[in-house]
Amino acid sequence: MNLDLTPFILSFKLAFIVTLFLLIIGIPYAWYLSVTKSKIKPFLESLTALPIVLPPSVLGFYLLVFLAPDSFIGKIAGDLFNVKLVFSFPGLVVASSIYSFPFMIQPIQSGFESINKNIIEASYLGGKGKLTTLFRVILPNIKPSLLTAIIITFAHTVGEFGVVLMVGGSIPGKTEVASVAIYDYVENLDYHKAHIYSAILLMISFLVLFAVYYINYRQKRKYDFY
């Protein structure tokens, strides 16, 4: 049987780009949330957590409205970068980044919040600047939180369905990721392929989760962290 792996490759490409992007913006943003005493903190936290509680169809609908070529954002993307943000891969990246945002931010923020502030001050008093302190002291000491954030974000992006279907459509080779492909096979009554694809996704999801929990279990045994 000829198994088309394109949807999986698309899924992983999407998850990789989204995870990397969210990691880069997530670290400073989560740091800000963990240290700020500003009144807008609960507002920002609610906004961040919104994708967890919102039905994917609601999020997908708003994203379609706001990213459409005649919308403000859609126009900017089209005029400046010549990029179409709906029914396209770049659109999927934008939509997935919003959808997976809380899964990256929340673990990193709680990692930052639980770190002993004295070790940060000890680093400053040792003459080290903020960046050195971040990379040599803070991040290594929240490794379990970072790993959780990265792996859960990746897995969640691979596993999303509603938003990618609405914003991406289901264009084979472009926006038809694995989860959407399964839906299409079921609709076409091709249960055999749906079975295979589903089993692959099930296995990958389990392995990913197992990796997170196993690594954290080993880390906790290795150091008595907090």
């Binding site: 400053y124 040792g126 150091y223």
Partner: protein, 290 residues
Amino acid sequence: MIFIDIKKPLKGVKENMLLEVGLTLKKGSFLALFGASGSGKTTLLRIIAGLEKAKGQIIVDNEKWLDKNKFLPPQKREIGFMFQDFALFPNMNIIENLLYINNDKKFAEKLLSLSGLNALKNRMPHSLSGGQKQRVALCRALMRKPKLLLLDEPFSALDTKMRENLQNEIMMFHNEFKLTTIMVSHSPEEIYKLANIMIEFKHGKIIKKGSPKELLLKTSGSEKFSLIGKIIDIIKADVINIALVSIGSHIVEVVISKEEAKKLKKGFSVVLSTKAFHPNIKVLNEDTFS
């Protein structure tokens, strides 16, 4: 010479107060900051370190650390700071903790061997005892070859024997590197042993200043001989009643009358003193070490 003249409003537990400190300190001094919790001692230490901002002036060896228009960040102040909870970097082993501050391997090894920690240099902090961690923290604080060593209640997490060891070590380093040291402490015993000058704080203000000998002995000399403790049990033994009183890390037995036995209860805080020039002293343990 160290010159400090700072002001900072503080939010106290019960009421707000103004921390207001003016003092000059000679090079090589060992200053102890003494006073009740919340009187501003630790805040003063943090202001000197640059971890908190304040109004006023701090000048160390003609270098301005704090001024109207200047705030030297902690990174640029030549300070060694020892935290109450050690604050070792959990992701680095002992020697890495030292080398992170200053990549001078020879000096790190010298410090570790002076404190007898050389055998532990490749261990991770979490596998060390409290006393060992505190000694590593002391070595790490010295890695910058600081002008000023700041100690925030360095002995509070240690037992009596560890305390004594670390006190000796701090004295050794203070003399060896000709440091100026400022220590926050609750213990008159520690202060008497280590410091050559002390300041007592109350509500953010200096209320007493002088040598520990003057201040500590004067206080206890003007009052009668008395110790504060807590009753942990009252025992009836044959015809007498005995109260077990815990004082500091000791427990003493005190014979009490029938009436007193009725009045006193477990958990009461009490003052033990002498009556009519007859001190009633019972030897609890002949080991003079503790």
